[in-house]
């Protein structure tokens, strides 16, 4: 009884380590593909379109909504201390340092990461990747690398747009609805946000999340079983693993570098 449990644990450990090794190999091949010619500009543009442009609407709407909530909540808390003018810096700092990069990463995982895993998984199931191999085209180079690269490139852009929409949302609630002086809202933003800490930290976070989501989604699609269940497992796996890892890595970055 006890022995079977130990055996099971051992089996799981070995399987986990071999998956980790497989993932590392995949990441290595992916990196290799990013620097090997030909450079697939057209594929990259197409992927920036599907990942970036098609996620734009949900990112902006969510950003605006989050900014408005922050405006309301912040106002309620700050009026207790008579510090309504600090609303600008409250909304701005919260969005730039945490909510912008993290929520964007979660939204993009759900919107585009799952789509990447599903698309590559379906290509595995319909032998399209083998089809590419038979044309002497490396499917990692043709399919996965442009997707991962586009993910890394678009994540900071989407995150910045999320933050700007959020600041706009906070402005609408704070200034238009709650009657805070527009000058003090903007002054609070400008006074509290530092480029080298806050903005750079924000961009760094979203780049790291972009790498994370890009690699996990392409890897899960690539290694999915060639059937419908495999595609669905790859999609779910991507969303779960990428979301949880995003939150954990966010904590690690914040704890280590204080951004």
């Amino acid at each position: 009884m006890f022995r079977s449990h130990v055996e099971k644990l051992g089996g799981r450990t070995i399987a986990g380590i071999s998956r980790l090794g497989q993932f590392t190999t995949f990441a290595g091949v992916l990196l290799d593909c990013l620097i090997t010619r030909p450079f697939r500009g057209r594929r990259l543009i197409d992927e920036v379109y599907t990942i970036g442009v098609l996620s734009l609407v949900i990112v902006c709407i969510s950003g605006g909504a989050v900014g408005m909530v922050l405006g309301l909540q912040g106002y309620t808390v700050l009026t207790r201390f008579g510090a309504e003018e600090a609303l600008g810096s409250f909304v701005g700092l919260t969005l730039i340092r945490e909510l912008g990069p993290v929520l964007t990463a979660l939204l993009v995982t759900g919107r585009a990461g799952s789509a990447i895993a599903a698309e590559i998984g379906a290509m595995v199931a319909t032998e399209q990747l083998d089809g590419l191999r038979m044309m002497s085209i490396d499917p990692t180079h043709y399919v996965a690398a442009p997707k991962a690269a586009a993910m890394v490139l678009t994540m900071p852009l989407l995150s910045a747009l999320f933050i700007v929409c959020g600041i706009g949302g906070g402005y609408v609630v704070g200034v238009q609805f709650l009657g805070i002086d527009p000058g003090s809202y903007l002054k609070g933003l400008e006074g509290s946000i530092k480029f080298s800490d806050d903005v750079m930290g924000s961009i760094t976070k979203s780049l790291v999340f972009g790498i994370l989501v890009g690699m996990i989604s392409t890897y899960r699609g690539y290694t999915s079983a060639p059937n419908a269940a495999g595609v669905s497992a790859a999609t779910t796996g991507t969303v779960v693993v990428a979301s949880v890892l995003t939150l954990i890595v966010d904590y690690i970055i914040t704890a280590l570098w204080g951004v």
Binding site: T126, D130, G131, R133, M134, M135, S136, I137
Partner: protein
């Protein structure tokens, strides 16, 4: 090599033409399941060889192994003077340029139009200008009998057109070997005949060595120069006529079940209760 008495004579026949693909003692396991157990066979140059066998008998796996998409546990595969199984990623990629593969479901990229799919290998591997590419692709489309499909997506094609497009893409780089995985699956009898003629015509026009898997007996008998019969992880090969009249019980039972056994035609005719198609005899 598992050879029956008439197998030895078959072997002499196939050796009249030099082998293009030579498989030696191939072994492959998927978990507990043995797919190939010391399989050896040879595919003559410029001929059409049909690989027959039960479903799950490793027909597609054999093609994938030859194409270097599947690593065997043991054994050698010689294509011309190159050994395939020991190749690395980049070597294999280079090697596959000599091979065209027509996949069962077409395997066209569904985000690209048919034209872009067929022109993709040219864009990747040649320095052709846009005009030359257009001309080559149109020529290929004419050869496989495709018209007005340039801007369609693969999802908009019928089964027969999909097979033609897949064939066009497989042949666009003028490979020396063409692998066809179940080219007749999902087609109506008329479309089967058309694709059949197309493959034979491609073979005669370009002299490409064709290896195809099928369980469509009628067309196998009509088009194959040689038949490779996969049974129990090994192969029995020989010219079509001799396989047809083979006395090996495993082959007999397969042929009888497929309704293509010339020795028991009468029986089958009576059993089925359907008048047989004229074309099945031709």
């Amino acid at each position: 090599m598992s050879m029956t008495e008439d197998g030895t004579s078959l072997r002499r026949n196939t050796e009249e033409v030099p082998a293009h693909v030579d498989i030696l003692n191939l072994r492959l396991h998927f978990g507990d399941r043995t797919v190939f157990d010391g399989l050896s066979c040879r595919f003559p140059q410029g001929k059409i060889t049909v690989i027959l066998g039960a479903s799950g008998g490793g027909k597609s796996t054999l093609l994938r192994t030859i194409a270097c998409l599947q690593q065997p546990d043991w054994g050698d595969i010689w294509v011309g003077d190159k050994e395939v199984t020991s190749m690395h990623r980049h070597q294999a990629q280079q090697f596959r340029r000599r091979i065209g593969m027509m996949f069962q479901g077409g395997a066209l990229l569904d985000s690209l139009t048919v034209y872009d799919n067929v022109s993709l290998p040219l864009r990747e591997h040649t320095k052709m200008t846009e005009d030359e590419i257009r001309e080559t692709v149109q020529h290929q489309f004419t050869a496989v009998g495709l018209k007005n499909v340039d801007q369609l997506l693969p999802g908009q094609l019928s089964g027969g057109m999909m097979k033609r497009a897949a064939l066009a893409r497989a042949m666009i780089l003028e490979p020396e070997i063409l692998l066809c995985d179940e080219p007749f699956s999902g087609l109506d009898p008329l479309a089967v005949r058309l694709i059949e003629n197309l493959i034979v015509e491609t073979n005669q026009r370009t002299g490409v060595t064709i290896l195809m898997t099928s369980h469509h007996m009628g067309s196998t008998m009509r088009m194959a120069d040689q038949v490779v019969f996969l049974v129990g992880g090994a192969a029995i090969c020989g010219p079509t006529k001799e396989i047809q009249t083979s006395v090996d019980p495993r082959i007999r039972s397969f042929l009888r079940a497929s309704g293509a056994d010339p020795l028991s035609e009468e029986e089958l005719y009576l059993d089925s209760g359907f008048p047989r198609h004229e074309e099945e005899h031709s």
